[in-house]
């Protein structure tokens, strides 16, 4: 294969990744709309669920979002009835965020059920070695994405 053929292949693959990220964001935006949130709020809710109890500062560190953005996210999540703020019993000066876990998980999962089934049917066509190859690709990609997100924050 010539250099230009390789270049073409990488070009169409990069375009595919760009479209995939657009589709991913629009899907999560559609789920979020059903929950009365935007896609960033929705993903922050997921992160709070996995790390609660959490402070606004920790959420900012975990997400790479500015503290101003994080405050807006928590306000919207609180207004929509997914999370609540409370004083940290171990340090009354700190405010921690907790999730109404069952409500959040039930409502998120109800919108992801059909997606999960379709993905499962597709993945059934891949053998274990292929799944491990894909896992590795996503792991490496996540490393890059996380590093680049931190760079943007500086």
């Amino acid at each position: 294969m010539s250099t230009s053929e390789r270049e073409n292949l990488l070009h169409i693959f990069n375009e595919q990744l760009r479209h995939f990220s657009t589709d991913t964001i629009l899907f999560h935006q559609a789920v979020a709309e059903r929950l009365g949130l935007n896609s960033t709020d929705h993903k922050c809710l997921d992160i709070i669920l996995r790390n609660q109890p959490i402070t606004a500062g920790m959420l900012s560190d975990l997400t790479g979002l500015t503290t101003g953005t994080v405050t807006g996210v928590i306000d919207r999540l609180e207004k929509a009835g997914y999370v609540f703020r409370e004083k940290d019993p171990e340090d009354r000066r700190k405010v921690i965020i907790r999730v109404y876990t069952k409500k959040a998980e039930d409502e998120i999962m109800s919108h992801l059920e059909s997606f999960g089934q379709s993905m499962k049917a597709m993945l059934d066509q891949y053998d274990n070695e292929q799944i491990r190859f894909l896992f590795n690709f996503f792991e490496r990609s996540r490393g890059i994405i996380q590093t680049e997100t931190l760079k943007l924050k500086k």
Copy 2:
């Protein structure tokens, strides 16, 4: 490999995909913040760039977002100086959206340059057959994501 080993593998792979989508959304949110937008606005700008001139109704169809959300997106993009509305010269009752293309492309690309270089370095370690395999996986996944986004809209 037993059924439960296969189940475990699929479970950790699904968790990986879930984290990947979170990382993707947070990365685009970080880029969007640099541009004074949110991640949905940012991706809509990308879609308008590729399809302009476009109406709000067409943007709603392409993205799966409600017309109410689309109106807010266009308002913010207009306020940030990326797009403008004008009357369609062929049908004065229609409003079309155009992008200040150079400003949008220059500003988006300046924040994606480092990410592009890191991805390129990683992809250089994959041969053509592997890239084609990944391309196929992303293509099939996009089909599912698009179908599920439309289902959520109903």
